[in-house]
Symmetry: D2
Subunit: 342 residues, 4 copies
């Protein structure tokens, strides 16, 4: 145990925090040495999540920065937006590595942040040095990062489905439409009538058309890939499943090509990626094949007569869309095997 | 429209209230003339429940007893426990008929009420005159009742499954064990972390073993049938479905009999009942066959070597377990066809 | 009972046939006098669907055209594609009205039929006289029709969401993309590993991209509305719910307009329609509000900077998408109140 | 890789086979070297289950005993009942260890096997040497076993919930009633109308009352523990979830005791067990806490006035109820850490 990295999870009782503790408890290179929850009561994490028997046995109190700094080398902040940027500076100042699961360090333009999150940004200093933690695009910067802005769930599934075509110039970047379908853990673990089992079950709805807070994050990342301004149409839907996002992406092709040719672009782009699987022609991803994994599965089909491609991606929103990707980022930052624990 | 009974639903925005409005909007003998909700905002009920287009178009404000009394002849109180007994007396005094969906008038012994509902009973006067609205047991009293205590969902499914055997003396009344499985609308429409979609979905749990507030209601009704003191073992479970209760009832037989003989007892007991269906040997009820209906389906099988019967009943908790039965009670009280609107 | 229309349901044991019998059993103007199933065994329909107690009590044998012709005035054919066009001529010749739920009479071009259904069309004669039974577009022709081609579930939700904009010339008809999400009853009641509960539950998948057999039906209807050739991009998805289709429709605007202006177009188009509900700005349909109803709910939002509209429609695939619409068609054909029984 | 145990999974495409491959692919001490499926087509297992990218890449053909014997040291037979006893002898004769997931070697009395499985037993010779693979009862025999009869899913949840009380003599062994609720993977991956998503979803049913083929397995194991003949009442239910069994067990106490005292019996019995978690008083197991784990969680409550205990157990039917327990058995047989890979 001596040589293991000491890691902490701040906000361990939400869905993402729970998933983080679960993954980290089986990770060969780390030891979970600190967890905190937002509940007032102090409980052992093992009493909250009984399956941690045999693995993690820690008290889960309200967050104490001093205690967390003392006990950890690297910390995951699994906090609601706006809380992260209040605690991240403390850890960074103490020389700890920080992987922030919230949106606080994702948007480089604080004005955009303020528009979508309705609050001023409090830590512009660290924002500049934050690295957007999508390994398939930014692996090199992640290696030396001190502060990771872990991508949102919708952005992960969307960006990975679009980047290869944009990077290779085969997409009309003004035509991107994303129809995303998400499970309910994406909404967080909270008391909310709209999330009552019987309000969600046996129904589907679209919500926050064009206005979802993940839109600027997608646009920023894709603009970086494209070297042109990208502004997507994004329509999220709530689906009665626990986990998973299926993103159906519609895009006009900038030049004629068929399914096999476009697939070749994708397979080349992702050929060394451990967590992206590009399907052969004729098959499309399904959420069930990625649940409880860190994979992003991708399939696509070209409609030649309309010069249009439909790309379908599937991720587990708590894994590749949050906790799994956070651990993948940690692995890269710390020189562990990239697939360790995943 | 002139001759239709004017009915009101107090608490129209909960699951049971919504179901009541839905049933009543199609009922040939009544007009819904008053609805109230617990929300502060004032909305048209048709904006809350869009499918009421073509049928009910009323404002849904916070409850006003004066307005409700003025506009209705009969009122359904679909309120949380303890609120009903504060408003029922007002309606009764004004000469209105009241069907109370809460537990406030179900238990004849106020001490038992106080033990299970943790609050003093406030209307012992009307309690005495209240009729327990289970038509299969109390049809005659319901006909002339002014105040109906509409049965709970679990008690309806349990009592109907046990009464025939008790009434005919073939059960050992000390041996009754009820394992009940309920959908989530039974817990009410409220913001509660424990009812979050992802806390309930893909899981099953037992809860409130031996202590559920419906136990004394079951015991009281069955003691009435049996003429002996009955005290059941009752274990409710939460199942990830919207509607329905399946009750699996285990009981020792007081005398040797086989499945056909016990079925004959049940078929005779319910032979004129419009809303009870006793299955032939070899088939058992399933929730899907009673959802959105006012039926209680019953099947059973005798284990002759153990001298034990297992009876399975299925109801829709919002219909026969609440709103449907309330309308059935109204039909009986008002001399309508008993199946009208159902 | 003497004056009631005698109706039959051929194929009463599938999901749509079951729904038809359920609706018809409560319809004030008809009596169900004939049902047949595809099973070899002969059973009473009430034993198959226990909730028909109190309403329909008929034998459900294998289909006999002679018996059906003798016992009915109007027949619903709820049969797999290709079987309908073998029996419809018999009923028509005998002077009976026919409402065909299959696709056999929907496509006016038999070549297109043959391409998508992989079989020759066998009844071109009656095809010409068949009326596409979407009342919101074809009410007048339905009134005098002898043979109704009842629309498919996906087409109903799609066409109703697009027709107002096309009819009024505000849409770029070349830009229509439909992302549809359907419940599992849409796939029919059959033994199929791909429809096993645990293959569908907790997952979402897209299927038959660009090639679904409902595409030519949508194109044909919209081309009729538009007076130009329309060819949509259609991507269906399977969602783990029993009933309902949510269609998210993306379309470029042919001229600048905002949400309110486009909503005005829709509200005007549907202002007298009993079963279409256009939502006010700021609210979008959800499947739960249309389940078990014959409504098509419609909401929309314009993205002015992109000159794009997203229209969302919700229907119950077994009601407005099949059996409900079939009954609505019957009501129109027979001069009953259009909402009778619905 | 040189020193890893070579393991094969015969029947790798069913739910249990898939789960086995998934667990084994992450197991530190083994390499999956052989998989077979029942499909005629030959596919790579990685194409069937895309998430095996990075881990297992093998052809999945129809079963060949010769090939399997050549390539493996230990084999898991995840086959339908009756097929296992045809292939197990081949592996045993070749000196391979066999863990049979089917029922073929679970019942020591071939007459009972023949009664419940409606077929003659074909391998009485090996049956005698087979060890019933429930580590909590038979760890010592498992260590030296060549052939493991891996327990059924229902028996695992039931026996673990009852054994401590029987072993310590505090239960009336004639009074045991088990009300079990199972997810749908328990029924296997097969084309079956009764398992269609929409036949199972939003419903619950009881089935095979008193006659389920797991009853003699439970009775045999509990009789062994009790040293008296035990015959339980067992009522299984189908629940619309993918995985998990919740067993609610009702038993009369042979002597007066309270919840804490009975819990002490259970905690002592399981104090060294890595995969059993006994809850403190006041909390009961829920399926969600054991899904995707090899745990059996146990909680209980005594009704002192009725001298009755209700014990609730939760397992994942594919893990502790099948594949997980099979791997636990392998770990014990092969001297690996008992929790390895789990």
């Amino acid at each position: 145990m001596e040589n293991k990295l000491r890691v902490g999870v701040v906000g361990a009782t939400g869905f993402t925090g729970e998933e983080l503790v679960k993954i980290l408890s089986r990770h060969p290179n780390v030891e979970v040495t600190y967890v905190s929850g937002k509940e007032d009561r102090s409980e052992r994490i093992q009493d909250i999540f009984p399956y941690l028997k045999n693995s993690v046995d820690l008290k889960c109190d309200a967050f104490s920065a001093d205690e967390a700094i003392e006990k950890t080398d690297l910390v995951f902040l699994s906090l609601p937006h706006t809380l992260s940027m209040q605690s991240a500076p403390l850890f960074l100042q103490a020389g700890k590595k920080v992987i922030d699961i919230s949106a606080d360090y994702r948007l480089q333009d604080t004005k955009v942040y303020e528009k979508f999150y309705k609050t001023a940004h409090l830590d512009a200093a660290n924002l500049k040095a934050a690295v957007y933690g999508l390994p398939e695009l930014n692996r090199e910067q992640i290696k030396s990062a001190k502060l990771i802005a872990n991508p949102g769930c919708y952005p992960t599934g969307s960006i990975l489905g679009i980047a290869p075509g944009l990077a290779s110039g085969v997409f009309d970047e003004s035509s991107i439409q994303i129809d995303a379908k998400s499970g309910v853990t994406g909404a967080g673990r909270k008391a909310d009538k709209a999330l009552h089992f019987s309000e969600v079950n046996e129904s589907v709805k679209a919500y926050r058309l064009f206005e979802h807070q993940h839109v600027p994050e997608i646009d920023q990342a894709l603009s970086g890939v494209s070297k042109k301004e990208v502004s997507v149409v994004f329509v999220p839907h709530l689906i009665p499943i626990n986990r998973g996002i299926l993103s159906t992406i519609y895009v006009k092709l900038a030049k004629k090509m068929n399914t096999e040719e476009l697939l070749a672009v994708y397979k080349k782009f992702y050929k060394n990626e451990p967590f992206v699987k590009v399907y052969d022609a004729g098959r499309l991803p399904e959420i069930k094949y990625v649940v409880n994994t860190n994979f992003c599965d991708i399939g696509l089909k070209v409609n030649e007569s309309k010069n249009l491609a439909v790309i379908v991606t599937a991720i587990d929103n708590l894994q590749k869309g949050a906790a799994g990707q956070a651990v993948q980022n940690m692995n890269i930052m710390c020189g562990f095997e990239e697939t360790a624990g995943l």
